[in-house]
């Protein structure tokens, strides 16, 4: 390297001054417009004719404090269901996606089953699956069949979400360029080993954001199991709301769900940023 030192030119200094001025102006505009927007929103809501009643039934500090422990208690049931269902869904989804990549004729029945499964369970509303599993399975009176509502809820959610997650995995597997598969096969790797060491590790990174999106959705849908008698956050709120005619507990439940999903969203961003860095951007 030669000994050249760089002194910023007058033109460059002027350019940087101008950029600072523009940045400051942008910041001011953003702040003012946000304040105005929130102000108008608050005025519209509090100025509405029904506001005093809404304030009492939805924003009662007293009701909030009273219901909070019960709602929080129920919320742990939601978290438990979520934590058990999530790994099960990943396993089911991955297996179904992998079965669909098998080409050998001997696997035809499995492949057909996988296609039928995704078609059916993506088509039926989650709430219906929960009701069918929750009331149908115990009615069979089978020996060893689960009767516990939480277990039944987990099974129903796994069936429903497994179909979605299988499709996410399949899209991820398909997104790995065929040349990667050709390179692996040409090294003598079998279909299974090509999947395991070459395709899935690359597919996995691409499906993490859509998977987390599905899991945020799953966190909310755990409240659907209240329909088969699980007393979780929504049910607790409902119990309180119907006995005291005050809807504030619903707000408490909503707050808990938001508090759970926001870290998940930030975690997704973090993972995306990390894979960007790893790719050397």
């Amino acid at each position: 390297m030669s000994e050249v030192t760089w002194v910023k030119s007058e033109r460059q200094l002027q350019r940087e001054r101008l950029r600072r001025v523009r940045a400051a102006r942008s910041g001011t505009i953003a702040t003012v417009s946000t304040i105005v927007f929130l102000g108008v929103l608050a005025a519209v809501v509090t100025g509405s004719p029904g506001w005093p009643r809404v304030r009492d039934t939805f924003f009662s500090a007293e009701a909030f404090a009273k219901a909070w422990p019960d709602v929080l208690d129920g919320f742990w049931t939601n978290v438990t269901i979520f934590l058990i269902a999530e790994p099960l869904i990943l396993v089911v989804g991955l297996l179904v996606a992998l079965v669909r990549t098998l080409r050998a004729p001997v696997f035809f029945p499995l492949r057909a089953l996988a296609v039928a499964y995704t078609d059916v369970f993506r088509g039926v509303p989650t709430l219906l699956v929960i009701l069918l599993v929750g009331f149908g399975v115990p009615a069979l009176d089978l020996q060893g069949a689960p009767r516990d509502e939480v277990t039944l809820g987990v099974i129903a959610l796994t069936l429903s979400y497994g179909a979605y997650v299988a499709e996410v995995f399949r899209a991820g597997i398909d997104s790995v360029h065929p040349s990667q598969r050709a390179a692996a096969r040409s090294l003598g790797l079998s279909h299974g080993k090509t999947m395991r060491y070459v395709v899935l590790p690359q597919a996995w990174r691409r499906v993490v954001p859509p998977l987390l999106n599905d899991f945020v959705s799953l966190q909310k849908d755990t409240s659907l199991v209240s329909t088969i008698g699980v007393v979780e956050a929504l049910r607790q709120a409902q119990i309180y709301a119907s006995s005291k005619f005050n809807y504030t507990p619903y707000l408490a439940g909503a707050l808990l769900f938001v508090l759970l999903t926001i870290p998940m969203a930030r975690f997704t961003d973090h993972l995306a940023a990390r894979s960007q860095r790893r790719r050397g951007q």
Binding site: A183, R185, L187, G188, L189, K193, Y197, R279, G280
Partner: protein
């Protein structure tokens, strides 16, 4: 200690007979016959679309053939009962687009097949990989990910990856076509080194000067037919076929511009 190449019985390493292949009804290979002896370097030349790459892909069983046979060390690999994975274990192929695995370090790229296909223990596989990296001037890149390497470095790693399983035969498909001119030299150097080590190779290339230098046999393909076969001297100084002459003239003219 074994060499880079696996050892086999006498006779040609590879024998291709009456090979036909078409895509969607358009014939790409029309009755190719080709035989490659041990330690022979065969260079396939011809215009784009003449079938060079398809021939290599057929030999590696990445394509199913429409007709004809391919024998590797006297065993028919186009037999429908042959296990493609087993065949590919004995061959290395390097592609124009490198096709390194982006989620693995250079070292993992190279040791994947030895460890997972050939059952070599990790320390042993890594030792051999480091040896090869060292030999081809990439010792400091063992821990790097492919996207941190230049095109020439990536292609050298791809060659080493194919070499790590001690193949009986190496197939090199336009390995310098995707590279900047100043990076071509380093890859050609690797191929020279392979020839010096006695590797049996089939390569397709547009680098006529290199082809002339490295090949024992040059084959000219035209429209899916192996039109002419001879030593580099014969093909480059006194080609029999008018089509060969025409092709070489157009390539040389292009170089002059």
């Amino acid at each position: 200690m074994k060499h880079d190449r696996g050892e086999g019985p006498g006779g040609p390493v590879l024998a291709v007979e009456g090979l036909w292949k078409s895509y969607h009804g358009a014939p790409v290979l029309r009755g190719i016959d080709l035989s490659v002896e041990a330690h022979e370097v065969v260079c396939l030349i011809g215009a784009s679309g003449s079938g060079k790459s398809t021939l290599l892909r057929c030999v590696n069983l990445l394509e199913t053939v429409d007709d004809g046979t391919i024998h590797l060390d006297g065993v028919e690999i186009t037999d429908v009962r042959a296990d493609p994975d087993d065949v590919r274990k004995r061959m290395g192929i390097v592609f124009q687009a490198f096709n390194l695995f982006p989620h693995m370090t250079v070292l993992d790229n190279i040791t994947l097949a030895p460890r997972k296909v050939h059952g070599v223990a990790r320390p042993e596989a890594e030792e051999r990989a480091r040896e090869l990296l060292d030999r081809f001037g990439l010792a400091d890149k063992a821990g790097a990910y492919p996207d941190r390497l230049s095109g020439g470095q990536q292609q050298r790693v791809a060659i080493i990856r194919a070499l790590a399983v001690r193949p009986r035969l190496m197939l090199l498909d336009e390995v310098t076509s995707a590279l900047d001119p100043e990076l071509v030299t380093e890859v050609l150097g690797v191929i020279r080194e392979l020839k010096a080590g006695g590797m049996t190779m089939i390569l397709t290339t547009h680098e006529m000067g290199f082809c002339r230098e490295i090949a024992d046999t040059v084959c000219f393909l035209d429209g899916g037919v192996l039109l002419e076969r001879g030593t580099p001297e014969e093909i480059f100084t006194d080609p029999r076929e008018p089509r060969t002459r025409e092709f070489l003239k157009s390539v040389l003219d292009a170089r002059r511009i």
